[in-house]
Symmetry: C2
Subunit: 298 residues, 2 copies
């Protein structure tokens, strides 16, 4: 049976989009609930400036409380200061992001892609010295809201830069929901050809309603690693009211129906998504949390 590896990113990619600060103890409850539902990989927070993203100002506390509970804890780190904080806090996997699109990278971090790539080396060294893992996240890998299409070559340039520092775990981020089945198939095929040693993870958003359709295209391309968010948390800074990340429960439901093993407990995930909805005080976009699975689950 094919196994899917799902990384839950709602606590990072979801909560950073919310207008409220979710109290630290509630974040920890959600994190523990995720582990209880079977998640072995959680992107739990981001070590960004608390001024820039106050929603995740408690990154250190969240990691401290969730450490040693059986899940690999990942966190986004935008710069050496963030990496230092993440290492101190005990993050297992540091995630560094660079955009494949030159324009998006400039808008996002005010640097060229080349300059961002130069910054990898010292961070990669610090992570290696600490015996932690480093993951490359390629933003706008399937399209850029400013530039439009992004070529496989542009994505490859970022992966090469990371690979040169020994980073072989790569997430392709569909930052603003521009992936389509043909783009997914083309990009995955090219990258598998150019970087056979790289382990690809796909991170789709449901901005245009086809997030799970893109997962199907990814599966056809042989990719079994995906990122998703409880309840479909998140949103899109470029499209008011648009959906966020693909929804973990919906993905787990689909996987189960397709005979793919995730190791996750759908009932617990649904309960947790309902709890998250209560915490946030607004409806989430997840569908299975409203309708339940098609048949009762054991």
């Amino acid at each position: 049976m094919t196994e899917l590896t799902i990384t839950e990113v709602g606590m990072r990619d979801g909560l950073q989009m919310e207008s409220v600060f979710v109290p630290t103890n509630q974040k920890i409850q959600i994190g523990l609930g995720l582990i209880d539902a079977g998640l072995q990989r959680i992107e739990a927070t981001s070590f960004v400036s608390p001024k820039a993203v106050p929603q995740l100002a408690d990154a250190t506390e969240v990691i401290s409380e969730l450490r040693g509970r059986g899940a690999t804890l990942a966190a986004l780190v935008p710069n050496p200061r963030g990496a230092e904080r993440a290492l101190e806090a005990g993050v297992d996997e540091l995630v560094m992001f660079i955009s494949a699109s030159e324009t998006h990278n400039r808008h996002n971090v005010n640097r060229s892609v080349a300059e961002s790539l130069e910054n990898i080396a010292p961070m990669a060294q610090a992570v290696a010295d600490s015996k932690r893992s480093l993951r490359a996240a390629v933003s706008t890998a399937f399209g850029c809201p400013w530039q439009g299409n992004v070529s496989a070559e542009e994505v490859a340039r970022v992966i090469e830069g990371f690979a040169a520092q020994g980073v072989g775990a790569v997430t392709l981020g569909d930052t603003t929901g521009m992936a389509t089945p043909p783009i997914v198939r083309h990009l995955c095929a090219k990258l598998a050809e150019w970087f056979p040693e790289v382990e690809l993870t796909l991170h789709f958003h449901n901005t245009r309603g086809i997030g799970l359709v893109n997962v199907i295209a990814g599966l056809e391309a042989g990719i079994t690693r995906y990122e998703s968010a409880l309840g479909g948390l998140g949103g899109c800074p470029f499209a008011k009211g648009a959906s966020g990340n693909i929804c973990t429960e919906d993905l787990v439901y689909l996987a189960a129906e397709m005979g793919l093993e995730t190791g996750l407990d759908l009932r617990r995930l649904i309960n947790l998504a309902e709890r998250m909805q209560e915490i946030l005080g607004h409806e989430l976009s997840g569908q299975v949390m409203k309708a339940g699975p098609r048949l009762p689950v054991a």
Copy 2:
């Protein structure tokens, strides 16, 4: 280039789920807008009892005003009285529904499937006499909220009953959103084998977030005819807050990105979905209407 045939069902399957009555002139505006956007097939209303479904009490007026504007107008007819009214009003295609699930059929129309099948003959005769078309809609073809799974044999029994009356246009309805890719593939393959002469149309709901994933499975099974609703209108009587029909604009966007021809104007559809949202006064579940297509369209 593969062509998709899309039947817009929002005016019927969508509006019947709304708590308000949309004024007749606004329905007609929407209908004309759909034709303007390129739709050649519109399921515009249902000739049910106005007491049972007051939202569609203006079925005759809606059909009269939209007739002769270039689109084939379909309407649901639950019984001989409805069929008579539909023929008088000038409907091009009458849609009769019978559930594949015995339990659902009893709950829905208080008759066994066998009894419902017996009722076809006089209606089929009346439709043939009037030189109109008759379509069979098989409800709960992919699963039943009471019974659970529905077998291909149960679906085939309904199709056989219609085929015996000369009805060769069949819509498989995923009434409560229980279709999954394996079920779609299995059912379509079986029916293609058993009824090679029947023209299949698939009608999916996005109740569990995988409506467009099921379209992909349908395409792989060689089906090019789909039903969808503007803005993802509709809902599920069995799941409060759940999504309704698959969304026309999202489907058209996906089709265009996959190189499939629909003949529909995405920009006009988005404008129309926004107009529908204004008319109804609540948010619709369509995604592309919020985010727009991934690249500007001409």
